[in-house]
C-alpha cells in the first residue's frame, strides 16, 4: 500500500551520536540516525523520549552538547535555525505555532520568505520587481491554500481557524519554503479517525508531488505503521530500534518500552 520510496545511496539527513542534556536530564543520548532521500520516516516513542528535542536539534533551535548533523552531505550542527531552513528543512510544531494575527494567506506567504528576495525599500516603494515577486508569492500561496481547502478563508486571521485547519495550515506554511526535508511533529494530534486518514493521504501526496523526504513524530500507531517506510523508536533519549514498521512492531525492546512506561495509548 505504500508507494515505493525513492531511495538514493547517500542519506539526506544524518545525525551522529547527538546528545543533549537539559540541566541534569539527558533528553537525547547519543542518537545516530540516517534518513534516506524520499522516504517517510517515523519517529516514535513514549512521551518524554526526546523525539521533539531531536527535531529541535535537527532544525537548530537547540544546539547539541555533542554529536554532528549533516543535511545533504553538509554539516549543519551549529547553524542557526534560519540557515537550516534556508538549506531546505521545513518543520511543524507539536503545539501549533502559527502567526495568529496574520491571515491564512499571509502565513503561507511568509513561509516563502527564503524563496523571495525583495528588500525593505523595493518592497515598500513597490518597485516592479518587488511587485511581480509579491504577486507570484501570493499566487503560489493561494495554490497551497487551495490544496487544504481554505481558499474562502484566506483572509481570516490564522489564530481564529479551527484546530484541524491550523494543523494543515502549518504544514502548508512549511511546504511554502519548498523544503526537501519536512519534519512533522505530531501532525495528527487532536484529529478524528477520518481526518487522520485524510492527513495521511495528504502527506503521501505532497511527498510524491514535491519529491520530499518526511520525518514524522506521531503517536497514532495505525497512521505511523501505514504511512512510514521506516520507523525509529526512542526511549529515555536513546534510539532503541530502527527498521521497517513490521520489524519494529515485533521488537521486544520496543514493546517493553511502551508497556513499561504505560504510555502506549492508541490515540
Amino acid at each position: 500500500m505504500t508507494d515505493a520510496p525513492i531511495l538514493s545511496a547517500s542519506p539526506i539527513l544524518s545525525a551522529s551520536s547527538v546528545t543533549h542534556a537539559f540541566g541534569g536530564l539527558i533528553a537525547v543520548d547519543g542518537v545516530s540516525i540516517s534518513v534516506q532521500r524520499g522516504e517517510i520516516f517515523g519517529l516514535i516513542g513514549p512521551n518524554g523520549a526526546g523525539k521533539t528535542t531531536l527535531f529541535n536539534i535537527m532544525t537548530g533551535l537547540i544546539a547539541p552538547n555533542r554529536g554532528k548533523l549533516f543535511f545533504e552531505g553538509r554539516e549543519t550542527t551549529r547553524l542557526p535555525p534560519y540557515r537550516i531552513a534556508e538549506r531546505g528543512i521545513g518543520r511543524t510544531f507539536q503545539n501549533i505555532r502559527l502567526f495568529g494575527e496574520l491571515s491564512v494567506l499571509e502565513n503561507v506567504m511568509t513561509g516563502r520568505h527564503t524563496r523571495t528576495h525583495s528588500n525593505v525599500l523595493s518592497g515598500v516603494l513597490g518597485l516592479p520587481a518587488a511587485r511581480a515577486e509579491e504577486r507570484a508569492t501570493r499566487q503560489q500561496a493561494m495554490q497551497l491554500i487551495d490544496r487544504i481547502g481554505l481558499t474562502d478563508r484566506a483572509h481570516v486571521r490564522a489564530g481564529s481557524l479551527p484546530y484541524g485547519d491550523q494543523r494543515r495550515l502549518e504544514i502548508v506554511r512549511a511546504l511554502a519554503l519548498e523544503p526537501r526535508l519536512l519534519l512533522l511533529d505530531e501532525p495528527a494530534a487532536g484529529m478524528n479517525t477520518r481526518e487522520k486518514q485524510a492527513l495521511s493521504d495528504f502527506i503521501r501526496q505532497v511527498r510524491n508531488q514535491y519529491h520530499l523526504t518526511i520525518v514524522i513524530i506521531e503517536h497514532h500507531m495505525p497512521l505511523v505503521m501505514g504511512l512510514c517506510d521506516r520507523i525509529a523508536v526512542m526511549n529515555f533519549g536513546q534510539l532503541i530500534a530502527i527498521g521497517v514498521p513490521a520489524a519494529v512492531q515485533r521488537n521486544p525492546a520496543v514493546i517493553e518500552a511502551y508497556l513499561g512506561s504505560r504510555k502506549f495509548v492508541d490515540r
Binding site: T59, G60, L61, P80, P81, Y82, I84, A85, E86, G90, R91, F93, R97, L98, F99, G100, E101, L102, L105, E106, M109, T110, G111, H113, T114, T116, S118, N119, V120, G123, V124, L125, G126, A130, E133, E134, T137, M142, D152, A154, H155, R173, A174, A176, L177
Partner: protein, 312 residues
C-alpha cells in the same frame, strides 16, 4: 482661523512630531521588540541639527534659514541615528522583553549624561538660537505633515510586503519565524534602525521647532511618553501610535484651554489650571483599562478590508 493657527500652530506641529515618535516606537514593536531607545536617537538627531544649523550652516542669504538645509540636517541625523542603531541593536537585541526595554533605557540615560558632559552639546544649557526656516510655527507643517504621511505610508506598505510580514512573524512567534528561514537578528536590527532613522529625523526637525535643544529632550520620561503614545493609541496597527501621539499631546493643552472657559466656578478653573495633570494621569489610567487594545485596533479596519478585497 488665522488666530486659531497662530495660537495652536506650535501645538499642532508638536502633535504631529509626537505621532511620528509613536510610529518610531511602533517599528521595533512590529517585530515584538519593546525598545525605548527612540528617545536617545531623537536627542541625537536634535543635537545634530542644532550643531549644524548654529555652527556649520551659518552662511545663507535672507532672514530665514533655508528649508533645504533643514532637510540636509534631517538626512544627516537619520544616517547618524541609523548607524548608531545598528551598533546598539546588534548588542542589545539579543535581549528580550523587559530586559531589552531596560537596556535601551540604559542607553538613553548614558547618552543623556554624555550630552551633559561634553562641550559640543552645550552642557545643561544646551544649544540655543537654532535658526528658523519659517516665519510662523504652523508653517513647519510643510515639512512635518508630508513627513508624517510618508512615514505612515511607509509603515502601511511595510506591513503588506515581505519584510514587514517577516517582522510581524517574529513578533507573533519568533521560533516559528526562524524555522521558516527568517533571520530574526537581521530583521530586528533592521526595524530598530528604521525606528532610529525616523526618531533622528524628527529630532532634527524638533530642534528647529523648539528653537533650542538640550539634554532634557531625550530622557527616560520622553521614552515613557512615546511608549504611552503607542499603548494608548494601540500597538497592533500603525494608526494606533499616530492617534496616540496626537491625542496625548493634545490632552494636557485641551485641559489647559478648558480652564480658560468663562463662567467656570473658580475652584474648578483653578483645578483645571494647576491640577490638569492629575486629570491627564487619570485619563491615561482609564484609557489603559477601558481600551486594553488601545484606541485603535486592527478590527476597526477589518470590515472594510474584507469587503473591499477582490480575492475573497
Amino acid at each position: 482661523m488665522a488666530d486659531f493657527l497662530s495660537t495652536y500652530g506650535s501645538l499642532i506641529v508638536s502633535m504631529i512630531l509626537a505621532a511620528m515618535l509613536g510610529l518610531s516606537l511602533y517599528l521595533p514593536l512590529m517585530s515584538g521588540q519593546l525598545s525605548l531607545a527612540g528617545a536617545g536617537f531623537y536627542a541625537l538627531g536634535g543635537y545634530i541639527a542644532a550643531i549644524l544649523s548654529t555652527k556649520v550652516f551659518t552662511t545663507y542669504s535672507g532672514d530665514l534659514y533655508p528649508v533645504s538645509y533643514v532637510l540636509i540636517e534631517m538626512i544627516v541625523a537619520g544616517i547618524a541615528a541609523g548607524a548608531l542603531a545598528v551598533i546598539v541593536g546588534i548588542l542589545a537585541l539579543r535581549l528580550r522583553g523587559v530586559y531589552l526595554a531596560l537596556a535601551t533605557i540604559a542607553f538613553v540615560e548614558i547618552l543623556r549624561v554624555l550630552s551633559l558632559n561634553i562641550d559640543i552639546t552645550g552642557g545643561a544649557i544646551g544649544i540655543f538660537g537654532v535658526p528658523q526656516p519659517f516665519g510662523t510655527p504652523i508653517e513647519y507643517l510643510w515639512i512635518a505633515l508630508p513627513m508624517l504621511l510618508l512615514s505612515m505610508l511607509f509603515v502601511y506598505r511595510l506591513e503588506r510586503v515581505r519584510t514587514g510580514r517577516a517582522l510581524i512573524a517574529i513578533r507573533e512567534d519568533e521560533l516559528a519565524a526562524e524555522s521558516i528561514g527568517i533571520n530574526p537578528t537581521y530583521h530586528k536590527v533592521l526595524a530598530f534602525m528604521l525606528s532610529a532613522i525616523l526618531a533622528g529625523c524628527v529630532g532634527a526637525l524638533s530642534a528647529h521647532v523648539l528653537n533650542t535643544w538640550n539634554a532634557r529632550q531625550g530622557t527616560f520620561d520622553a521614552a515613557i511618553g512615546h511608549l504611552a503614545f503607542v499603548l494608548v493609541g494601540g500597538s497592533r496597527t500603525f494608526a494606533g501610535p499616530v492617534v496616540g501621539g496626537l491625542a496625548l499631546t493634545l490632552l494636557p493643552e485641551a485641559l489647559r484651554q478648558l480652564a480658560g472657559i468663562n463662567g467656570l466656578p473658580p475652584w474648578l478653573a483653578q483645578f483645571l489650571r494647576e491640577g490638569r495633570l492629575i486629570l491627564y494621569g487619570l485619563l491615561i489610567v482609564l484609557g489603559a483599562i477601558n481600551f486594553p487594545q488601545g484606541l485603535i485596533t486592527p478590527a476597526m479596519f477589518k470590515h472594510h478590508r474584507a469587503a473591499k478585497d477582490p480575492t475573497t
